[in-house]
């Protein structure tokens, strides 16, 4: 046997080649960037067996069950289709889906919401669903809340077929209200007597040191989210032309100061340390430690299951001189570019967004269905708890949503939230926090717009 000369140098050179190959592979242009902008007109719906995957976040049992039913319904309608779900924990959604798309194996449909729709749309990773809808006699956008379709449409493109929405409301503990001698909250969003002044008075009346030990036992309110109040106050994080920070406007500053004062001056809202010690907003509410809190319709499901808790919902209070704002977060599903068959994806998407699926949203998941007639039917509005469910539905004409600009997550988590947290802790004035956040917001926007 002849053995060629193998020096350490040659061996290492060979090994370096292996590393180089892996390096080149790692740097190779990614797939998934190429998907057709619209469905291939010539593509036919063959009877060939096909496997479809719907991508979701969240792994709660009721979610998984709902998705299994949707997959089964797809297979029942199209026997040649094997449909399945791919559910990942919420925190991993972006990287998992991005990686799948980049690897050239995108899911056939994917869940989208206020956070992920702007991001994936900004990456030009989603198909416009309007051409599919136009070509499909079975489907119409008219059954959905028109405002959701309007807010989701950018430059004539719509990437999400909505499934549900989460209007923010005030959840309140009726027993604590009665103890404090307060009436139930009004139910109309237009009612201008339910405003920031009366809201603060209500919160103050509810805040109590029951055992007299000098520490507050019941807080009037808790706001896990500051953004709805910013909008209620007439402010926003971005300027109208989306070129710069909007936090410096008088309306925004006043709204943020009012929020900070709730905790720091009036003491009607718990500190982060107290919240951490006592649990989530819902836990605090259920335990009777907080009399009011803000959340989307997702609060219904959990609170309904708590026996003996007497609760209801009211509209968000109006700020002086401002119109009502029904801040909401909608969600739905879209089609990533580069899927194996956009037409089959569309069929799956239709089932995920259809009437039966909307009923599940109302009854099992507890959110407000995106289809107006289902939301206003016995499936949602007609359910017994809370008594004034109509408040959710009545927010529709005043619907406002999270900013839709692509880098909004970075703007919020990098530039704004760290600074505002200091303001809400009382370590910085609202003015200083906004002044510090502003240039960072502007910088992200400048990079985004290519200035």
């Amino acid at each position: 046997m002849t053995v060629g000369k193998l020096s350490r140098r040659h061996f290492l050179q060979g090994s370096a080649l292996v590393a180089g190959g892996a390096f080149v592979a790692a740097c190779a242009p990614v797939a998934g960037d190429t998907g057709a902008a619209v469905a291939d007109e010539g593509e036919s719906m063959s009877e060939e067996p096909i496997e479809l995957v719907a991508q979701y976040w969240g792994t709660r049992p009721e979610f998984i069950e709902d998705r299994e039913i949707l997959a089964q319904r797809m297979t029942e309608k199209f026997p040649n289709v094997t449909a399945s779900q791919n559910s990942v924990p919420g925190g991993q959604y972006g990287e998992k889906v991005l990686t799948a798309i980049a690897a050239g194996t995108p899911p056939d449909t994917m869940q989208l919401n206020h956070r992920w729709e702007p991001f994936f749309r900004g990456q030009e990773a989603l198909l416009n669903v309007i051409p599919f809808a136009d070509a499909d006699d079975e489907f119409t956008f008219d059954v959905f809340y028109p405002r959701i379709i309007e807010l989701g449409t950018t430059e004539g493109q719509l990437v999400t077929v909505p499934r549900g929405w989460n209007p923010f409301v005030i959840y309140y503990n009726r027993a604590l209200f009665a103890e404090a001698g307060l009436d139930d909250l009004p139910t109309s969003w237009e009612n201008d007597t339910w405003n920031w002044d009366s809201f603060l008075e209500t919160a103050q009346a509810l805040t109590a040191d029951s055992d007299g030990d000098g520490r507050t036992d019941v807080y009037g309110m808790f706001f896990p989210y500051w953004y709805p109040f910013l909008r209620l106050g007439g402010g926003d994080v971005l300027s109208d032309d989306q070129q710069s920070s909007g936090l410096g406007s008088p309306e925004a500053l006043a709204a943020l100061q009012w929020l900070a004062d709730l905790r720091l001056t009036h003491g009607v809202s718990p500190t982060p340390a107290e919240i951490e010690g006592l649990g989530s907003a819902q836990d605090l509410f259920t335990a009777g430690r907080v009399a009011m809190f803000t959340a989307g319709a997702w609060g219904i499901g959990a609170l309904t299951r708590v026996e003996g808790l007497d609760w209801d919902v009211g509209p968000l209070p109006r700020a002086a001189g401002q119109p009502p704002v029904g801040y909401t977060q909608y969600y739905g599903h879209g089609i990533p570019k580069g899927t194996q068959s956009a037409d089959w994806s569309w069929e799956y998407l239709k089932i995920i967004s259809d009437e039966e699926s909307n009923i599940t949203v109302a009854q099992t998941i507890g959110d407000v269905p995106a289809m107006r007639h289902i939301a206003e039917s016995e499936h949602f509005a007609g359910l017994p708890k809370p008594p004034t469910r109509q408040v959710f539905i009545d927010s529709a004409p005043h619907m406002q949503v999270w900013p839709t600009i692509a880098p909004i997550t970075e703007i919020m988590s990098r530039a704004i939230t760290p600074e505002l947290n200091l303001a809400f802790l009382g370590e910085k004035s609202v003015e200083d926090a906004v002044a510090a956040a502003g240039p960072q917001v502007d910088e992200i926007l400048a990079a985004f717009w290519g200035n």
């Binding site: 350490r8 061996f11 292996v18 592979a25 990456q123 107290e274 802790l425």
Partner: protein, 320 residues
């Protein structure tokens, strides 16, 4: 076959002539066998470590949002992080403060514990296990527990401080106290260092202590003149590993403080993570990762270089 002596003689001649010695058949086979034996590690290193490191270096010169092809932008990422990004400098500041306080304090505590656990104490095996236990508990679970310990209202730490009539700080809910809190928490894991020092202590020959005792050295002198010099290679190892580990702090900040309040605990690795997996700036994140790599490399090399002056290897003439 030529004699071993002849082979050595030829190799010496070739070396003298500036040539590489030629391998014999057996030596070559041995070399192949050696490389085959290490190939699982070598291939793993090349494919899963070296290649990604090189790829990250290339990516650091691009703007890459994953779905579109990387766009080459030269040194702009490095220019941005060095001259335009306040958060980068904030993350460097926070990380360096953590390293500066954590490394020496944990080294001293580890050594003290190791010395204690090296004594003939009743139940020392049990104590060794107890002190080492935190090192084997997953950091996520540890972090969740420390969130509760640090809770200003209900946590055990402030409850203890309250016994003395003092209201404790807000710990992880304060931009001033969050970083000290994470430093304090890190000291809970001195058990790892303790085990390393303990192994070093047990390797010191007893006759050195006997000789020192005969020469009249007291306990402190024996510690200074025997224990520390003999332990210095272990100290060097522990310090280098500790510095590298400290620069890579991530989990605690990710879980307990999310980098806050107000970026007070925005460690460099957390900042890299956010750029990569929250904001999807892969090019910039790779540039940050390379900065971390270079910083750690330079500091590690400096420590190794400085060790010539303070690390003593047994058996070496002159002790240096």
């Amino acid at each position: 076959m030529r004699s071993r002596q002849a082979q050595i003689g030829q190799a010496a001649d070739e070396l003298a002539a500036g040539k590489r010695p030629r391998m014999s058949g057996i030596a070559r086979k041995e070399a192949i066998a050696g490389y085959v034996a290490i190939s699982p590690w070598l291939l793993g290193f090349l494919i899963f470590q070296l290649a990604p490191i090189l790829a990250a270096f290339y990516i650091s010169s691009t703007e890459w949002r994953i779905l579109s092809a990387p766009e080459f932008i030269g040194v702009r990422n490095f220019d941005k992080l060095l001259f335009k990004d306040d958060l980068f400098w904030q993350s460097i500041k926070v990380t360096v403060i953590y390293v500066i306080f954590r490394v020496p304090v944990s080294a001293v505590l580890s050594l003290a514990l190791a010395l204690l656990m090296n004594q003939q104490l009743a139940g020392r095996r049990l104590f060794r296990t107890i002190y080492y236990l935190p090192a084997v508990i997953p950091l996520v679970a540890v972090s969740m527990m420390w969130i509760w310990i640090f809770n200003p209202e209900y946590g055990v730490l402030n409850s203890f401080i309250r016994l003395f009539g003092i209201e404790g700080p807000q710990w992880i809910h304060s931009s001033r106290w969050a970083l000290p809190a994470l430093i304090i928490m890190s000291l809970w894991q001195v058990g790892t260092g303790m085990v390393i020092f303990l192994a070093g202590l047990q390797g010191i020959p007893a006759h050195l202590y006997e000789a020192a005792t005969i020469d009249g050295a007291n306990t402190w002198q024996r510690f200074l003149k025997v224990t520390l010099p003999m332990l210095s290679p272990v100290v060097l190892f522990a310090l280098v590993m500790n510095v590298i580990g400290s620069f890579q702090i991530f989990t605690q900040a990710y879980i307990m403080t999310a980098g806050g309040p107000g970026n007070a605990t925005l460690f460099l690795v957390l900042y890299i993570y956010r750029n990569a997996f929250e904001w999807f700036h892969m090019g910039y994140a790779s540039a940050l990762a390379w900065v971390l790599f270079v910083v750690v490399l330079v500091i590690s090399l400096a420590m190794l270089r400085s060790s010539e002056h303070w690390v003593h290897y047994e058996g070496r003439i002159g002790g240096a």
